[in-house]
Symmetry: C2
């Protein structure tokens, strides 16, 4: 996607001052079994044509400009998956994506500090738009107006939050309590008359109970905390240091900033190494809200009515379809007999309910979850139980996106694995070999161009090719439609890390 | 299994007089998604090492002797599936199985008449032991004792039912009301002193409500109707005619008997043809209970305490495992978090419940059912809804048993299908060809002996072979362990009926 300059928020001269930071590290345990440790919520495409993180990046580009750099903050564990995922998005083919690697997960304060330090090293006065990658936001006029107001406010060295005007007594969100409108917000030349009101923040408050939420709704100066932040890189780091020690959570703020600056000064590859891991591990796991925002007197809020959802539980799937007369939401191959107020999400298999009420069922190729609607916020309990038994279904998805397309495990057994590969038109896998497995490829749609030990030939639909272990091979789709391959792997070890890459269009590593 | 003669119920001289009839025609809609139209409850192996029908046949052989003929009553639709299934049971390899084909399903009165007429044609005085094929009965001393008593009673030209002494006020069964002990049941020479009491039947009563069931339990002369019947072939047909017209259900009894006798006189293959279909279609669909037993004054009951279950709903799966402390029964890959009194049956995939109560979930590779326990008797409503939308999941199982092993569809798409084949040691498929599909076989365990256009060769684990359309081929396992093949079918039509058989160890038909 290429934006025309008039679509950008700020005039051309100041454009390079805005950086987008996308926080891609969420684990998304509330979305299991749709999300997995290696395919968290932000990578799911269930809510639209693209994933939440892809949507977020496109939305960020509408603010910072199509050719501004985008910093993707991600941990070492998810880095390969997120990068593969983003490489596979055609809408991002011209995006200037940069990765800020957290050596180990330490919540948002160290993560934001690392991103701010990375940008500060280039331009301390740069404005930073920090967006969670797993929210659903409509990229409309109100979105642009909201971010314009936040950027203008951030220029005054403020930490600017985005608050949603509440529409119901919601108990699932934290709230931002606004104080009064800021004095320096006199209308400026060149801004529209319908510019959003901006207020200073008096307090951040935890998720309320129902009566309290009702009171907040009626009070008029409480807003849902969106988790977005706009501020200068320098100000983020300054405020971390300035509020150090004001509460227990901020005790190590200076150490966070120093560690972040040190790490920002070394190349990306160093972030994967033991020294970086040790330095980051020494930091407290603390959120930016408790370490800074709740303590600083430089925090503003832009109240907005933009269309926003944090997609906080599997019940968010209900927004995808209209309910039937009995209040059932059925997405995919569901059948609800004598059922009421039941959510069925089942894209690949038949899922029938009989006589159920206030229940949700979410089905995936290798795992299914059944629970009453009122327990939708507790899905992490299931994830914890699965982690305790080291269940593979909590870590790896059965379908994995790659820059060249997707693979999908359809069957596995002792000494073999069957995958369905989809290779996008024009794409090719790396030139590679495997030590311990051989592969049979059967073409079931399209024509495969196969390189094998230096020889290139075309394999038509219905034909097959055998790739012995330890031989160089490459699979390519020179056609105009998708290429589908059934791959049967046979060997004594079938892990994804048995791969040596000799050449790769996507610069991925061998293991 | 070969029984020694002392294990048989009757002395050698009278052995040839006993025939077992296994009613294999049940549709088993109460067991979906485990059961399917083409794989009904009696073919399920979930309750033991073998299927319910295989168990039933083994149990019948313990009564009639290992080399007595066994008549399997089955409809034209299920015939191939049942025969394939029984051919695949090693315990039945020496069994003398004969098939009585119902041209069309017409409930038990026509089915029993057809079986009786088939046996009557050889020996009118033959004793017939008729057993439903989908019950779970312990083949112990009490089983033998019960059948001994029934056979002895049937010799007096009685229609003998088996009644279970109730242990709870069950509302899910019909009851048999016994009158008084029969006068001719004076102890006979050679019988054991602990011989079972036999009574004449006063009435058959429908499934009661709870207070009525409680009253039956306390009365002492009400028994659960097991659906088994022991009688002479001649007596079954005589009684059908004798009670004709005593109620609406028996109005066409003579026609039933005449049609059954006519059909019994023609070879098995004729039963598949239009003339037989028309004759049988003209018969009323009526149960033997309403057409005869409720009207006849020659009905006896053998009350017994044998271990019996009609496996009437999916909740019967709970008998397979001990519950956990919260009363959850988990069979297979289940995880119950904060759940109570929940049944999870999931053999192939992870199925997690969170906060559920009094629920059951039954998962299969292609379909899952979720319902409150109290709705377990209503599963047919789901089956009806699926039949209305012509869902394939109601008809065909994803795993199909064949005389040579099993196949299992692991993936299918436009123009292709992936199957996992398991070929038993020593078994081979038919010599066959397909008009419209080619096949790729990859051996993932064992060694395949492949015949292709007259040439025989061995394909080792990790190797593959291509079978073009319209070429003769055969797959054989000459090894001592199972042979596993991944088969990828490619073609414009992939139905099971695209097969021409040139030679088959199991005498199956081409289509």
């Amino acid at each position: 996607m290429s934006l025309r300059s008039e679509e950008r928020c700020l005039p051309e001269s100041s454009r390079q001052d805005i950086h987008a930071v996308i926080l891609a590290g969420g684990s998304g345990t509330r979305f299991w079994p749709l999300s997995r440790e290696l395919s968290p919520k932000q990578m799911l495409s269930v809510f639209g044509e693209t994933s939440l993180i892809c949507d977020t990046i496109l939305r960020a580009r509408s603010i910072v400009g199509a050719d501004a750099p985008l910093e993707i903050v991600v941990g070492t564990v998810l880095f390969d998956e997120i990068r593969n995922h983003l490489l596979a998005q055609p809408q991002l083919s011209d995006a200037q994506l940069e990765y800020v690697i957290e050596p180990v997960a330490r919540n948002t304060a160290p993560a934001l500090a690392l991103a701010a330090a990375t940008i500060e090293a280039r331009d301390p006065e740069a404005l930073v738009v920090m967006l969670p990658s797993d929210q659903l936001v409509e990229s409309d006029e109100m979105w642009v107006k909201t971010m314009k107001a936040a950027l203008a406010e951030a220029k005054h060295d403020r930490l600017v939050t985005i608050g949603l005007v509440p529409t119901r007594p919601e108990t699932g969100y934290g709230y931002i309590k606004a104080a009064s409108e800021l004095s320096h917000k006199a209308p400026q030349k060149g801004t529209t008359s319908s510019k959003l009101r901006v207020a200073s923040v008096e307090a951040f408050v935890e998720k309320p109970d129902v009566p309290t939420a009702q009171r907040y709704l009626e009070a008029g100066n409480y807003y849902w905390n969106s988790g977005m932040l706009v501020a200068k890189a320098r100000v983020i780091l300054e405020e971390l240091c300035r509020v150090q020690g004001l509460n227990a959570a901020s005790a190590d703020n200076v150490q966070i900033v120093e560690t972040a600056r040190a790490l920002a000064a070394v190349p990306e590859a160093e972030h994967f190494k033991a020294a970086a891991l040790r330095a980051f591990e020494a930091l407290p796991s603390v959120s930016f809200d408790t370490a800074v925002l709740e303590l600083s007197n430089r925090v503003s809020v832009v109240p907005t009515t933009m269309n926003w959802s944090d997609v906080g539980s599997l019940l968010a799937l209900e927004t995808l379809v209209q309910p039937d007369k009995q209040g059932n939401h059925i997405i995919g191959e569901g059948l609800a007999v004598d059922s009421r107020n039941t959510l069925i999400y089942s894209k690949d298999r038949l899922l029938a309910t009989l006589g159920t009420q206030d229940l949700f069922v979410v089905d995936t190729p290798d795992a299914t979850l059944v629970a009453p609607r009122e327990r939708a916020q507790d899905v992490r309990l299931v994830v914890q139980a699965l982690q305790n038994r080291e269940a593979p279904e909590v870590r790896e998805p059965r379908v994995s996106q790659r820059p060249w397309g997707t693979w999908n495990i359809v069957e596995q057994g002792n000494g073999f694995k069957v995958k369905e590969l989809t290779i996008l038109p024009g794409a090719r896998l790396s030139l590679q070999s495997h030590e311990r497995r051989s592969e049979h490829w059967v073409v079931v749609a399209g024509t495969a161009t196969v390189t094998q030990e230096g020889t290139v030939r075309d394999i038509s639909c219905g034909e097959s090719v055998f790739i012995p272990a330890r031989t160089q091979h490459r699979l390519e789709n020179r056609g105009t439609g998708d290429l589908h391959i059934i791959e049967i792997q046979v060997g004594d070890y079938l892990g994804e890390d048995d791969i040596t890459r000799y050449s790769d269009d996507f610069n991925r590593r061998s293991y």
